[in-house]
């Protein structure tokens, strides 16, 4: 079944840094409502959808938030100082365009730097074209957040855009949800504030009390010139997580995921990520513990305005999730 990449395009372009996920939630809600019994917005900003069934209660999580910047100070000339929202790489920032919720664009500049080691976040500022503090304060306010500008572009079999982390996960879950004929009790959590430490997933898992959970998120790759050694490659199949900083996948979960992938001739690769974490990190420790795994989408340039995935891996991720929901771990 063909994926509708126009939905992915729209998902990546919606404004949704951590803490401001409402528009992403509204978009997803409209997409999935016909396929679900209940759709709820929770306290922390998670979008939770339930499709009732008779079998195991399986939780599927993908986070809606993208990394961004938050304004901490507006100076007399109208320049904005900011703090990162999530894992923003300082070295990526100068010259980037950013966008605020109400549409105002800006670019990031840097003070005069005496030596390269002085290049720090507090030397950077956002210029939104305002000529005074007063004008800037009419347009943005302290605490307001911005995201990178990064168009959705298809390059061969590959796709690049901002916020593929983790709108690609949201997309995979939406596609699987539409296709799924599973008779199990399915609960879908499109989570908030993952980039700040899997905070939304924590409260969602508490509420949902699943028997089993799968998070869908991006992972890094080791297939670019002189990359940090990592065996994950773009286009080599969906990743099945073995370990990251937040989770070590239980053996029975790994066996189950690999067996279902092999059964369906779905290309997969084992993924060991030496840094970072996913929503499963929070979910597997909820209440008395929840056996949890992660479907990973290999992604280059994570946390940049041009994250890159391969559409064949995305297809494999959808196929795997659909099959897992139909054949849960006994």
């Amino acid at each position: 079944m063909d994926m509708d990449l126009r939905i992915l395009e729209q998902l990546t372009q919606i404004f949704g840094p951590s803490g401001s996920e409402e528009q992403v939630a509204d978009f997803i809600s409209a997409q999935i409502r016909p396929y679900c019994d209940e759709v709820i917005n929770d306290t922390l900003g998670n979008l939770i959808a339930v499709r009732h069934g008779t079998g195991k209660k399986i939780m599927v999580a993908a986070h809606m938030d993208e990394i961004g910047l938050m304004i901490t100070h507006i100076d007399k000339e109208g320049f904005l100082r900011f703090t990162p929202l999530g894992g923003v790489r300082t070295s990526n920032l100068v010259g980037q365009r950013v966008k605020f919720n109400r549409g105002r664009m800006g670019t990031i500049g840097v003070e005069k730097i005496a030596k390269p080691s002085d290049f720090k976040l507090d030397k950077l500022f956002i210029d939104i074209g305002a000529v005074s503090q007063n004008e800037a304060e009419q347009i943005v306010h302290l605490g307001e957040t911005a995201v990178f500008v990064g168009d959705f572009v298809e390059v061969g079999s590959r796709i690049m855009a901002k916020a593929l982390d983790d709108r690609i996960g949201c997309f995979v879950v939406i596609e699987a949800l539409k296709r799924s004929k599973s008779t199990n009790e399915l609960v879908f959590a499109f989570t908030a504030q993952e980039e700040l430490g899997t905070r939304g997933a924590k409260t969602a898992a508490y509420v949902l009390e699943p028997d089993l959970a799968i998070a869908v998120d991006v992972t890094a790759t080791g297939d670019t010139p002189k990359a940090h050694p990592m065996s994950v490659k773009l286009g080599s199949g969906v990743g099945i997580k073995v370990l990251d900083r937040s989770l070590i996948t239980p053996p029975q979960i790994k066996r189950w995921m690999a067996a279902v992938a092999a059964e369906g001739n779905i290309p997969f690769q084992w993924e060991v990520l030496e840094y970072g974490g996913t929503d499963s990190g929070a979910i597997h420790l909820s209440r008395g513990g929840v056996p949890s795994g992660v479907i990973s989408i290999p992604t280059r340039y994570v946390h940049s305005p041009a994250e890159m995935v391969d559409s064949r891996d995305v297809q494999a991720a959808v196929d795997l999730l659909v099959s897992l929901l139909e054949h849960p771990l006994e």
């Binding site: 803490g19 917005n41 922390l44 100070h73 905070r199």
Partner: protein
């Protein structure tokens, strides 16, 4: 004076009992139920039977201090910090152990230091507490491993309505909370004077779970750096400009709708308000806001210079304004609890 007593009491993480006992006596006349929970939080409850929003007010009781971890053969005490302490501020300061034993944090006199030594700050490994003991045995008759050493600082007013004292950065929230409990509100209030905030918001985590409120306000102090060189971008907050409402810190991203509400209520009531520039370290909100189904939480802080040191400094004006703002928010709360777009924690929605 509440603030003076709270400042001068000793109580670090895991050893908050003197502070707890004092607060228990202070709030007893104003709450319906009072108890200490299993981890040591002091819990006071008002209007338990009323309907409406159940509001948690939280302030932590623990201050930073030093723990004795070893005693040398000569009877000097080696120590480690409990909570975040800058080793450079410690040299030659007097401390108090077990509320009676005085000691001095020692170091080589300037006369004996070599040029290179003068240019380098001493680390925890090099510092020790001298309690005048003649030997290890003598020291052990006065203190034991695991005892705490506290800063000794008299609480005093100075300048234009300023106060200095130890632990002000921690206990100012306790004072505000104790004062707020004297007021009448027509909805349930659960007050938590928490333990072990300085070592990772541990008491608040437990309290939020068993109290299960719909909304929480954390009362705190925050960094005022309005004394440093350079431009005001790095000041975080300024003394005298009113309470600070946190936008984001290392453990919480505060709900934007609640921030707008706080700003509006401050404006309507003519209460000065500032937003911290830059993000500080986390506070109890970090544990509370992700408890159970998620609990909408705000932090109101009194700006404080020299936090986590022997003498922190606050302004009475900020303290008063912080109290006024918390009180105004509580009075306004029932109006936004139902029917506003803010999603309050209601467990029965699932």
């Amino acid at each position: 004076m509440l603030l003076k007593t709270l400042s001068e009491l000793n109580g670090t993480s895991g050893a908050e009992s003197l502070v707890r006992t004092f607060l228990q006596q202070t709030i007893e006349p104003f709450v319906d139920i009072i108890n200490t929970d299993k981890i040591g939080n002091l819990i006071g409850i008002k209007n338990d039977s009323l309907s409406g929003p159940k509001v948690m007010l939280a302030a932590h009781m623990d201050e930073v201090a030093l723990m004795i971890i070893d005693i040398t053969g000569d009877g000097f005490l080696k120590f480690r910090p409990v909570g975040g302490i800058d080793a450079r501020i410690l040299v030659s300061k007097p401390v108090q152990i077990n509320n009676s034993q005085v000691g001095v944090i020692g170091a080589k006199a300037i006369h004996l230091q070599k040029q290179a030594e003068r240019q380098k700050a001493l680390s925890f490994d090099q510092l020790y507490i001298d309690i005048g003991a003649k030997s290890k045995e003598d020291a052990l008759s006065k203190v034991k491993l695991g005892d705490y050493a506290y800063f000794i600082t008299k609480f005093e007013p100075f300048g234009d309505g300023l106060y200095k004292g130890k632990a002000l950065d921690h206990r100012v929230g306790c004072a505000l909370l104790a004062e707020l409990l004297k007021n009448d509100y027509d909805f349930p209030i659960v007050a938590a004077f928490t333990v072990q905030e300085e070592v990772g918001q541990r008491g608040a985590k437990v309290a939020a779970h068993h109290l299960a409120p719909n909304f929480a306000i954390v009362l705190e102090a925050t960094v005022a750096n309005d004394i440093s060189e350079g431009s005001d971008e790095g000041w975080i907050t300024e003394l005298g400009n009113g309470p600070a409402c946190s936008l984001m810190d290392s453990s919480t991203l505060y709900n934007a709708k609640l921030i707008h509400w706080v700003r509006d209520v401050a404006r309507q009531n003519d209460i000065p308000l500032q937003f911290p520039r830059g993000i500080g370290s986390g506070n109890d909100a970090g544990s509370i806001h992700i408890s159970k189904v998620g609990i909408p939480t705000i932090s109101l802080s009194v700006p404080c210079r020299y936090i986590h040191s022997f003498a922190s400094v606050i302004s009475e004006k900020d303290y008063r304004a912080c109290y006024d703002l918390a009180n105004a928010l509580l009075k306004e709360l029932p109006n936004i609890f139902e029917g506003s777009s803010i999603n309050f924690a209601k467990e029965d929605q699932f």
